[in-house]
């Protein structure tokens, strides 16, 4: 026992120095570098260098088909400001993000509150609500595309109750709504689980105290539950917005940006410009715009995370 303690107190003697140069410190130094080397190299090669290149490309007129690559300064950015489509694209992106946050978070909160009643069998419901998260994204989107056809399952269902449904994916207003709803059902399970964890962190005594004071269930929810889980609400809304800016497969499979440009969000427009119209320079400019938006939102997220001390491990 005593020997153990003395050995711990004198770590310099263990392990015995085999070599004057390779001290434990130097060994650690080298091991640390070797351990992070693959990740560091990967980040530099596949993230940082491409990011610099995006900035560089955005200053060029670059058409792959014509094999031309000329420095044009800020011309792409001027083109961006004058692009007659960009207003519609940004509006579609904003509409999608805002719609998704509202629909997704309300539904997530509703599901979490229902599951938090701790009735028997809620585990089963939790699994069912979460299951679309693990279903392949394109598979999920194909089924919904199938159901949202003019003569598809959803309009059949509506017809059964005497309603003539619209051609969901082909009319301006409903296409965006459809994309938002499909995306919500796909991923709402994640936010639901985060809300459920937050709800379970609300002390039971608070509820009981409020109930004794004669508060209604709605008042308790609005005055006690909601304020206490507000950090989670903010965090999930930012995570959801940042995620919504990256939506691509859903748009590509459901609407291809249509009808018109009503569901052409920024990433889809970027893909069209770069890989369908082969305007790589302009595509890079759009990438910079996307990066600026995501960066601003992420900075906001980190600042909020610091302000509302969230239980992080």
């Amino acid at each position: 026992m005593i020997t153990t303690i003395s050995r711990v107190d004198a770590p310099a003697t263990t392990p015995p120095p085999r070599d004057r140069f390779w001290t434990t410190r130097r060994r650690d130094e080298l091991t640390g570098w070797l351990f992070i080397a693959p990740q560091l190299a990967g980040t530099v090669v596949f993230v940082l260098v491409p990011l610099l290149l995006v900035g560089w490309y955005s200053l060029h007129e670059w058409n792959v088909l014509a094999d031309s690559f000329t420095f044009v300064g800020a011309q792409n950015y001027r083109a961006l400001a004058q692009d007659p489509k960009i207003g519609g694209v940004l509006r579609a992106s904003a509409l999608f993000s805002a719609g998704l946050v509202v629909v997704n978070l309300s539904l997530a909160l509703l599901l979490a509150v229902l599951l938090n009643q701790r009735l028997r069998g809620t585990t089963v419901f939790r699994v069912l609500f979460f299951s679309p998260v693990v279903v392949s994204l394109v598979a999920w989107t194909i089924v919904w595309r199938f159901m949202l056809q003019n003569n598809g399952g959803i309009n059949d269902l509506l017809a059964a109750v005497g309603v003539t449904g619209p051609n969901w994916l082909r009319s301006g207003g409903t296409a965006m709504a459809a994309v938002i709803v499909v995306q919500t059902f796909k991923n709402v399970g994640l936010n639901m689980v985060l809300f459920l964890a937050a709800l379970q962190g609300v002390p039971r005594e608070l509820y009981e105290a409020a109930r004794t004071d004669g508060a209604s269930a709605w008042t308790v929810f609005r005055r006690i539950t909601l304020p206490l889980i507000s950090p989670t609400v903010l965090l999930t809304s930012i995570i959801t917005v940042v995620g919504s800016l990256q939506v691509f497969a859903q748009i590509a499979v459901l609407t291809e940006g249509g009808p018109g440009t009503s569901t052409t969000v920024l990433v889809y427009y970027l893909y069209q410009q770069a890989f369908q119209f082969h305007a790589f320079g302009y595509g890079a400019t759009l990438s910079m715009l996307l990066f600026a938006i995501v960066l601003a939102l992420t900075v906001l997220q980190w600042r909020m995370r610091r302000r509302w001390v969230f239980h992080e491990s």
Partner: protein, 274 residues
């Protein structure tokens, strides 16, 4: 809670369940309908037709595409677990010069969505002659932005390990690498599980990257192949698409149901940190 309230909660849960469960049911049952019958509003097909499930394999090299997706996802998962656990361990437990600044450098990977860098990545892989190969779908996730999230998760886990464990390993004569492999890694199983689930699903779902990098049908991955079952007028062959979609989704769903707690906790954790 009163009996009435309980019934109300159960009723609400059951109704809300429908849009989550019904699409999967509809996908599987409609995949057995003949194309003429595809839009019939029957919960169960009138005639079970195995033709669509057969067509999946004759219209496209689907078995090959399935194997592509599977081997890429497994390779990416294994590679990410190695890269991320090593980097996460070093950032959490080893002291070396430049540690903090390098951690910030790596974390930039979380800030930059892959959609932003797709144009230069295409150019770089083109210059390397690796367009229409699987390399971009393997290398970028293992070493690039997607694994940064995994590294972050692993670091957050390793930070919580008590220092005494490493001290004990050191006294037993284990070096740093030995301590990592024999002591820290076995304890990190929950975090590694979360990383594995998240990484596999990420690779399995990848869509933008395959359609940008791949052009030969035998090299396609599943998400890309699913939408390619079309008739001569580019209209979707619904029953074939739905059979292929079922084959893509059902195995993962089965694993999910068997290990649902790990999936839900792991994915919620990665979702939060991301």
């Amino acid at each position: 809670m009163s009996r009435r309230a309980k019934i109300l909660v159960y009723a609400a849960l059951s109704v809300l369940c429908v849009p989550f469960v019904f699409p999967t049911w509809w996908m599987v049952t409609s995949s057995f309908k003949p194309n003429a019958d595809i839009f019939s509003a029957r919960l169960w097909p009138r005639h079970l037709s195995l033709q669509p499930w057969h067509d999946v394999f004759t219209l496209q090299p689907f078995a090959r595409q399935y194997a592509n997706s599977l081997y890429i996802a497994l390779l990416v998962t294994a590679g990410t677990m190695v890269v991320a656990s090593m980097a996460g361990y070093a950032f959490a437990r080893i002291r070396f010069r430049g540690q903090n600044i390098l951690f910030v450098v790596v974390l930039t990977g979380l800030l930059i969505p892959s959609e932003v860098t797709i144009v230069p990545l295409f150019r770089m892989f083109n210059a390397a002659g690796l367009i229409d190969t699987h390399w971009p779908l393997i290398l970028v996730p293992i070493f690039g932005a997607p694994s940064v999230l995994a590294t972050f998760i692993m670091r957050q886990f390793f930070i919580t390990l008590p220092g005494e464990l490493e001290e004990a390993a050191r006294l037993d004569g284990l070096g740093r690498a030995g301590t990592f492999r024999r002591v820290a890694l076995p304890l990190a199983r929950p975090a590694l599980g979360a990383v594995a689930i998240f990484t596999f699903l990420h690779s399995w779902n990848l869509y933008l990257e395959p359609i940008v990098f791949l052009s030969t049908k035998t090299k396609f991955t599943l998400p890309q192949a699913l939408t390619q079952f079309t008739d001569a007028y580019q209209g979707p062959l619904w029953n074939v698409q739905l059979s292929a979609a079922s084959m893509t989704a059902i195995p993962v769903l089965i694993v999910f149901v068997l290990a649902q707690r790990h999936f839900i906790e792991g994915l919620a954790q990665t979702g939060l940190k991301g």
